[in-house]
């Protein structure tokens, strides 16, 4: 059974051509009825103009230019993507267009409702008229948003392209440097040997040759550095945004609300304490991020945690309450 299904999946239902026999067969579908057929069938039936769908009991008139490649195996998915694309090109508001989250969410819900209706054939007439009405009312806004979206997408593409090119350049340069260095080293060896036959001061000749080699390779290095910096720069704007958003928000606390910010003491920048003064000079402490101010603050804070809890009174009250 499964075998038959498997075979049908790879077989054109019109001409019964099998993928087994023609391995580069492609299936096309038309968004009118989503019946699939192979490329050669489409060519054969629709090259002379619009014609009815060859499936029995379908009868929809199809045109060749509307046929497209089937990407998803499940035809329902294919259909939903088409509907979604169509609706979202009209209902294309973004969150910034709304005053609060509530209204944005109800807008999203409305959109999903319409997609669902069209998908499952519920109340199609009403939904279509609603769509049309909305389109007429918001024509300008829709165009504007669509343009924005396209622009953003283009920007994104451009940036991606740019980064890709840079990376390729960098790779090429690195490879080149590697090859050249090898060659230079070999050349240098040869030259040293050559010169050694004529001159007497060994060390001087060797250092001379090495200096000339370094000069040649440093030019390439410079180029590589430039590319690296431009790569980093193109990445940076995103990172900066990230940092801003994370630092502005208040950290999560497991308590009901946040801790009191006002402190019970004036913090001095320095206190008399031989023990901590000694630690201040230790390099391993400083390197690990140890700061005397943090120590002062913690210790001073602990001095006032619970100073106003009067256990005797409070516990007595709680006993009275519970009894």
């Amino acid at each position: 059974m499964a075998d038959v299904e498997e075979r049908q999946k790879d077989m054109c239902p019109i001409c019964k051509t099998d993928r087994y026999l023609s391995p580069d067969m492609k299936f096309l579908v038309n968004p009118e009825c989503y019946h699939k057929m192979c490329e050669s069938c489409v060519d054969r039936i629709y090259s002379l103009g619009p014609a009815p769908c060859p499936y029995p009991n379908c009868g929809k008139t199809l045109r060749k230019n509307r046929f497209k490649l089937q990407i998803f195996d499940d035809i329902l998915v294919e259909k939903e993507i088409d509907i979604r694309n169509r609706i979202l090109s009209i209902y294309n508001k973004i969150q910034d267009d709304f005053d609060d989250l509530q209204s944005y969410n109800s807008y999203l819900e409305e959109v999903e409702e319409m997609i669902f209706n069209l998908m499952n054939g519920i109340d199609i007439v009403n939904t279509e008229t609603k769509l049309k009405q909305y389109k007429e009312e918001n024509l300008q806004k829709i165009d504007l948003n669509n343009n924005n979206r396209e622009k953003e997408f283009e920007d994104f593409k451009k940036r991606e392209e740019f980064e890709k090119n840079l990376k390729i350049q960098k790779l090429q340069l690195e490879r080149q440097i590697e090859i050249e260095e090898k060659q230079l080293n070999e050349l240098a060896k040869k030259e040293i040997l050559n010169k050694l036959t004529t001159s007497n001061d060994i060390n001087q000749t060797i250092s001379q040759v090495k200096a000339s080699v370094l000069k040649k390779s440093s030019a390439r290095r410079k180029q590589l550095k430039e590319i690296m910096t431009s790569l980093q720069n193109s990445n940076n704007p995103q990172q900066e945004q990230h940092q801003e958003s994370s630092s502005s928000s208040i950290p999560f606390t497991p308590f009901n609300g946040d801790r009191e910010l006002k402190q019970n003491f004036n913090k001095l920048s320095n206190y008399y304490d031989p023990f901590i003064d000694e630690l201040k000079l230790k390099k391993d402490y400083i390197a690990a991020g140890w700061k005397s101010e943090l120590v002062y603050e913690r210790i001073l804070n602990e001095a006032f945690i619970g100073i106003g809890c009067f256990i005797q009174d409070e516990k007595k009250n709680s006993i009275l309450l519970s009894s």
Partner: protein
């Protein structure tokens, strides 16, 4: 913005406040209960040996004696911790574990000399000063890793798994710093340093007293300081908590205090900060009394109680004594003494 949690409220959420802080009456009731529970255990043991021993032949341990024995062994923890070169934080936690354990169990159920070793080991673990059980037991004669670990879960269970203990050491340190700020015109830092050092020694005393159950760590720290130098601390507290000072800095401090006490309304602000000052002073003075009256039993007292506990824990020892009695009347006391010194 949601409401902020004050520092006092923060302390009220700690297990130390919720589970291990009591009024005097509560604490007394608890001890009476534990003692009677321990006595019941002893009776049970006697019942099993009914045909050999008469029921009233064993003297039970009183509440007072229990307390003395625990205090004695708490002090021994201090010595043992010094032997291991442990930080004071570990020592303090071990003492607090031991004392809390005997708020749930009686000395007639578990002998403190065994429990204290496990408490010290557990405290070292929970305070991040890890010593492996093998090297720990190697340095203490007559123990095996198993004998120490066997009690570990028992203790954890009695502590209700609340291992975090707030000690007065850090608040004391904090007051040492704050004193430098508040009394900067009147005191030299090294004079304060001496007061601080003395107060720190006194904290060891406070840890063995019942102050830890009735007062919060900052209050205990203040009490220790006040015990060393009464005038300076009173001056500090009045500067810190008394209203009607013209100094702007102090006014700011008052505002902070108001917030800390939550309930204070602007109109009765002064009156309430006044009462806050008096309350703190009263509490600290009350705490001082506890610290002064800490138990410090002598070794002789402790061995006396220890002998009783030995019989309570193991009534069959009486049979042994009787046997020795019949053979050698003079050897009796010697035999017991030998046992005692072995056990301590």
């Amino acid at each position: 913005m949601s409401q902020r949690v004050t520092f006092d409220e923060l302390y009220r959420r700690s297990t130390q406040y919720r589970k291990w802080s009591f009024t005097k009456e509560e604490l007394l009731n608890k001890r009476i209960q534990i003692n009677s529970k321990g006595c019941a255990k002893v009776d049970e043991r006697l019942n099993q040996l009914k045909d050999q021993i008469e029921p009233n032949s064993i003297e039970k341990v009183t509440i007072d004696e229990e307390l003395k024995l625990i205090s004695f062994h708490s002090r021994r923890i201090g010595m043992l911790a010094k032997h291991f070169n442990m930080p004071s934080q570990v020592r303090a936690t071990a003492i607090s574990f031991l004392r809390k354990f005997y708020l749930v169990n009686s000395v007639m159920e578990y002998h403190p000399k065994l429990v204290l070793l496990t408490c010290l080991f557990l405290a070292a673990k929970s305070e991040n000063y890890f010593i492996s059980i093998n090297s720990f037991s190697k340095r203490i004669p007559k123990t095996t890793p198993e004998s120490i670990l066997s009690l570990e879960f028992e203790i954890l269970q009695s502590l209700e798994f609340t291992l975090l203990t707030h000690h007065p050491f850090r608040p004391l340190y904090g007051f040492f710093f704050d004193l430098q700020d508040v009394l900067k015109d009147e005191m030299k830092p090294n004079e304060l340093g001496k007061i601080y050092d003395d107060a720190r020694k006194l904290i060891d005393e406070a840890l063995i007293s019942d102050a830890v159950y009735h007062f919060t760590p900052p209050q205990i720290a203040l009490a220790c300081l006040k015990e060393i130098n009464n005038d300076i601390i009173l001056k500090y507290l009045s500067k810190k908590f008394k209203p009607n000072k013209l100094d702007t800095v102090k006014e700011k401090d008052e505002e902070d205090d108001d917030e800390q006490n939550e309930t204070i309304k602007p109109t009765i602000e002064n009156e309430l900060t006044q009462s806050m000052y008096e309350k703190i002073v009263a509490t600290v003075e009350e705490c001082q009394k506890f610290i002064r009256n800490g138990e410090n039993p002598t070794k002789e007292q402790a061995t006396e109680i220890d002998r009783k506990v030995q019989y309570c824990l193991n009534p069959s020892l009486i049979l042994k004594r009787k046997r020795e009695n019949t053979t050698d009347i003079n050897g009796d006391s010697n035999g017991i003494k030998k046992q005692k010194t072995d056990s301590i």
